[in-house]
């Protein structure tokens, strides 16, 4: 089910190195393979969603990408550099999920002190404005809402004018309005040509804000393509029917139908995911003992679940 039509923009010959170049990444914690063989190249200017359920390995991959941890195997290059070098030069910055702010500092002081860590940084007024929080510069971080704190983290990430910004589930815990404002600020920034990679488990965020969606599950990339391609995956339907015995021949016939993505038997309920529900229904009614046939449209969530759970343990 993996498809790879990764590059949305043709890469000019002799151009800059990839913004992100991960090869054969592996990282285990004890017996848990948090990252189990990830290869990913992101070209400059792409806005990539790193999409997957909790525990898929997104945060571990981001830690490796930022040089906060080292892989057991594989290589990480950020803008052609070692990640720690890229951080030291301010070429990459990150917005982490939670924490990372001192509650007793004001918003303005946090920006001011972080700016001082760089040899040259954008002005505090500029980054606060771009993050949409210029009006709360004097407020204590501790009394800011979750959304305001997240936009402060974003403002901090803008300070070195990085080529790449990495965001780890940036809208976790925000209300709908906060999420919308955050993405508006980010999207406006992306329009300037910066490379952005964000992790999320919200499919609608990936769909609305990314040019490219990389689906991860169990430490692997299970799908990688444009938002439109992922949407296509979700355009199919779910055909379910009661079937007491599914013979191997029936199953093979179902799988052989055009458009069928998966065939699954849960108890005596058969579930077929397909882009051609008519064909499946016809086959079920004519050549099997299936009864109680139901056809339902699949949402994005269902496609997401299908992709991220189908690969559990079965190498694709």
């Amino acid at each position: 089910m993996t498809f790879t039509e990764t590059s949305l923009r043709p890469r000019a010959a002799g151009d800059a190195p990839p913004a992100i170049d991960l090869r054969g990444l592996h990282k285990s914690f004890g017996s848990v393979h948090a990252v189990d063989g990830i290869d990913l190249a992101v070209e400059p200017g792409e806005v990539v969603a790193f999409l997957g359920p909790n525990g898929a390995g997104k945060t571990t991959t981001i830690d490796l990408l930022l040089g906060l941890s080292v892989p057991d195997a594989g290589t990480v290059q950020v803008l052609g550099l070692d990640p720690t070098r890229a951080i030291a030069e301010g070429r990459v910055s990150a917005v982490m999920q939670t924490g990372g702010l001192l509650k007793d500092l004001t918003v303005g002081e946090t920006v001011e002190v972080t700016a001082s860590f760089f040899r040259s940084a954008r002005s505090a007024a500029e980054v606060l404005g771009r993050a949409g929080i210029a009006d709360i510069a004097g407020r204590k971080v501790g009394s800011c809402s979750g959304g305001q704190q997240q936009r402060l983290r974003f403002a901090l990430a803008l300070l070195p004018d990085p080529d790449l910004i990495v965001l780890d589930e940036p809208t976790t815990g925000m209300d709908v309005e906060g999420r919308r404002e955050f993405w508006t600020a980010l999207r406006a920034d992306a329009a300037r040509g910066r490379t952005i990679l964000f992790a999320t488990h919200y499919l609608d965020e990936a769909d609305a804000y990314a040019d490219r969606i990389v689906l991860v599950s169990h430490g692997r990339i299970v799908a990688d393509g444009s938002a439109a391609q992922v949407k296509n995956l979700a355009s199919g339907r779910l055909v379910s029917a009661t079937l007491t015995d599914l013979t191997p021949a029936d199953e093979a016939a179902l799988r052989g139908l055009p458009g069928v993505q998966s065939v699954e038997l849960r108890g005596d309920r058969l579930l077929v995911r397909t882009s051609d529900s008519d064909g499946v229904a016809r086959l079920l009614l004519t050549s099997t003992t299936a009864t109680d046939i139901e056809i339902t449209a699949r949402g994005l969530e269902d496609a997401f679940l299908a992709l991220t759970s189908a690969t559990a343990g079965s190498p694709s």
């Binding site: 951080i87 702010l101 860590f117 070195p160």
Partner: protein
């Protein structure tokens, strides 16, 4: 405008939009100290009223409890009176409180994820630790000055140079406890690390003979191994005129090495890439 439209126009615009061409100077900063960072850290210290008041009020109060006996003014310890002797002891206690607290404040910043955030910037970890120690030493100096002022007002006298030397040594010697604070701050995950360290420091002060004389019993023997013992002996030496024993020097150097290595070990662990 709906979000989808925003996304589409943004994508379209990105093909033509150019990043600003003026390339920023990306070489990481050199130099151990960062004035802006130091200034903000000092501002944070002043804002932390509870710590400041505790550190500046406790030692003079203890001094008044243990040292405000009129009779002490007329008893000599060598180059000063007993009041002065108790004053420099309490100055050391105040400086210890300040530097331990300053070092231990890394635990709170670790808990808040600030140290992790700093790792995503070019800030050198050495700059962070040095700044924390410097700020702790500033508060330590304030504690020494306050105890000195209260002590002089209460009749502490001695040869001018002896008093100044003792107070200065109390301040400088407290750097050992900055290392202790850092070590504990990296070791203890608790946000309320000072609630643990406060009583520990009081105990160390008692056991090392800062609050009451050690006498000649078994406690005096135990005291020789306590981290406050050596510093106290050295701090009092100008005032008593006694020469500093090798044991006192060994005590200070030994504990400085233990705390320094401990802090370095935990610090490396904290900033290691795992």
């Amino acid at each position: 405008m709906t979000t989808t439209e925003t996304a589409t126009t943004a994508t379209a615009a990105r093909g033509t939009a150019q990043r600003p061409t003026a390339a920023p100077d990306r070489t990481p900063r050199t130099g151990l100290l960062n004035g802006r960072f130091l200034a903000v850290e000092l501002r944070r210290l002043l804002r932390n009223r509870r710590t400041v008041i505790f550190t500046l009020v406790m030692p003079p109060v203890f001094f008044l409890i243990f040292g405000a006996n009129a009779g002490y003014r007329h008893q000599s310890v060598g180059h000063g009176n007993v009041t002065a002797f108790i004053m420099v002891s309490m100055a050391l206690y105040g400086a210890m409180l300040a530097t331990t607290g300053g070092g231990a404040s890394v635990s709170v910043e670790r808990a808040q994820g600030w140290t992790r955030q700093l790792r995503l910037t070019p800030l050198r970890p050495a700059t962070y630790v040095t700044t924390k120690v410097l700020v702790a030493m500033v508060l330590g100096l304030a504690a020494v000055v306050v105890v000195g002022a209260v002590g002089l007002a209460e009749g502490a006298t001695g040869q001018g140079g002896a008093l100044v030397w003792s107070l200065l040594l109390a301040w400088v010697g407290s750097v050992v406890f900055a290392a202790f604070g850092l070590f504990m701050g990296y070791l203890l995950p608790a946000e309320n690390v000072m609630q643990i360290l406060g009583p520990v420091l009081a105990l160390l002060a008692f056991a090392g003979g800062l609050f009451v004389p050690l006498g000649d019993g078994v406690f005096a023997q135990i005291a020789k191994a306590v981290p406050t013992y050596g510093v106290a002996q050295i701090v009092r030496a100008p005032l008593t005129g006694e020469s500093v024993t090798g044991w006192a020097v060994l005590n200070v150097v030994g504990w400085a090495v233990v705390f320094g290595l401990g802090a370095a070990w935990r610090f490396r662990r904290d900033t290691a890439r795992v």
